[in-house]
Amino acid sequence: MNAFAAALGRELRLAIREPGEAATAVMFFVLAAILFPFGVGPEANLLARIAAGVLWVAALLAAMLSLERPFLGDYEDGNFEVLALSPLALSLVVAAKMLAHWLTTCIPLVAASPLLALLLDLGGGGYLALVAAMALGTPTVSLIGGVGAALTLGARRGGVLLSILVLPLLVPVLIFGAAAVDAAIAGLPVRQHLMVLAAMALAASALCPWASAAAVRQALE
């Protein structure tokens, strides 16, 4: 556990000393979301109807931006070789990277989402559901994204390829995440959507570090 805390601390320090990465993701999120009123027109009813989906899609795309760096950086400068030899299991090393990605990229996205929802005029009861759904859904994004980042280590056009591989796998998160907000606005129970999101996050946290570690190991061979 100490070794895991040390690995997580290292990832967080790296992320904090390079704050541009997370800030870029949030900037992208904000810009992508506020482009929609210009595209579909400022009519309040229409914006309120699509707000949940727009915010979720923009957040998924934004989260893709900062996935590559923690993996590729360690791969290119050889740190992964050292980490693979350390007593900490490689699956926990990549789990620390995924957790750090969630803390430094996804949490700022979750924090920014109510403000953007305000701009898009999301209906009254939706704000709490939006934050809850994003908080429960984004761990899956970091986890599955970590598998994609490990698979594309050293690939040509790795960054774009990463998004192409990961986004289709994130469709269930998007469906249930947006459905939770729509249910809250319609006054329906939100609980089952949130529970499905939590279940996906738990299943992903059991499987993804393992798959990601296998991908890193074969990249180091």
Partner: protein, 255 residues
């Protein structure tokens, strides 16, 4: 098991493929031909859907093959990861484009069928969406397999992706049971008697057997080409790294 491992030798696999391929090739031509004649000419029209039901004889076997190709690909990927047989990776890579084509055929015929029956080219229900995701998984797999300069890296990375993507297979199969979709539930592969009349089932099964033979034929062709491409690459690599003879041959490193 040991006999199965014997097949991992590319030379032995190719000898077997040479012997089987004429059978599967002619089998595909005859079965698909017979299936089309019976399905388009002699099977009855549906009492609700009329003549459009004949799209089923292409659509349903293509959908089955789309899933079957992915299963073949995932098994090849797993075998390649576990036993490190290059042939298994070549089989997985060869199955992917064929599966992607079957998926496109399935989606295209489904759209042509949906327009007269549902009134729309496309609806976002669970079955259609999950098959669309299957297409993107195929395309992502092909892109990842070709994204590395080192063949072995492409083999193993794409194999892991194929196994991760395999979670989509049960979702597609059971999507019509789990969600209340516009797409009809299974009527052939269900417990008890198929909910489809023999006069329609016969051409459907003929077409399915024909598509399976077609898949095997194309797979053998692609595996042969894939193995030759790898050998060519290895030869070029060896030539580029061989010591130059008399200073004449230095500029011919092709790889």
């Amino acid at each position: 098991m040991s006999r199965l491992h014997g097949l991992a030798s590319p030379a032995r696999f190719l000898r077997l493929a040479d012997r089987v391929q004429p059978w599967t090739g002619w089998g595909a031509a005859l079965l698909i031909g017979a299936g089309l004649v019976v399905g388009l000419g002699f099977s009855p029209a549906d009492y609700q859907q009329g003549e459009t039901v004949r799209i089923m004889y292409i659509h349903v076997p293509a959908a089955w093959m789309a899933l079957f190709c992915y299963a073949t690909m995932a098994l090849g990927a797993a075998a390649g990861l576990i036993w490190r047989h290059p042939l298994a990776h070549v089989i997985a890579h060869s199955a992917a484009p064929i599966g992607a084509c079957f998926t496109i055929v399935c989606l295209a015929t489904g759209m042509l069928w949906g327009k007269p029956i549902w009134g729309r080219w496309w609806v976002w229900d669970a079955r259609l969406t999950s098959v669309l995701i299957l297409l993107f998984l195929y395309l992502g797999y092909i892109a990842l397999a070709n994204a590395f300069d080192n063949t072995a890296r492409g083999d193993r990375s794409s194999a892991i992706l194929a196994l991760v993507g395999a979670v989509n297979l049960p979702v597609i199969k059971f999507s019509v049971d789990w969600w209340n979709t516009l797409h009809q539930p299974a009527s052939v592969t269900r417990i008890g008697a198929p909910a489809i009349h023999d006069s329609m089932l016969a051409p459907l099964l003929l077409m399915a057997a024909g598509f399976l033979c077609l898949f095997l034929t194309l797979l053998f062709v692609r595996v042969r080409a894939g193995l030759l491409a790898r050998r060519l690459r290895a030869l070029r690599h060896a030539r580029a790294h061989a010591p130059a003879v008399g200073g004449m041959d230095t500029g011919t490193g092709l790889s």
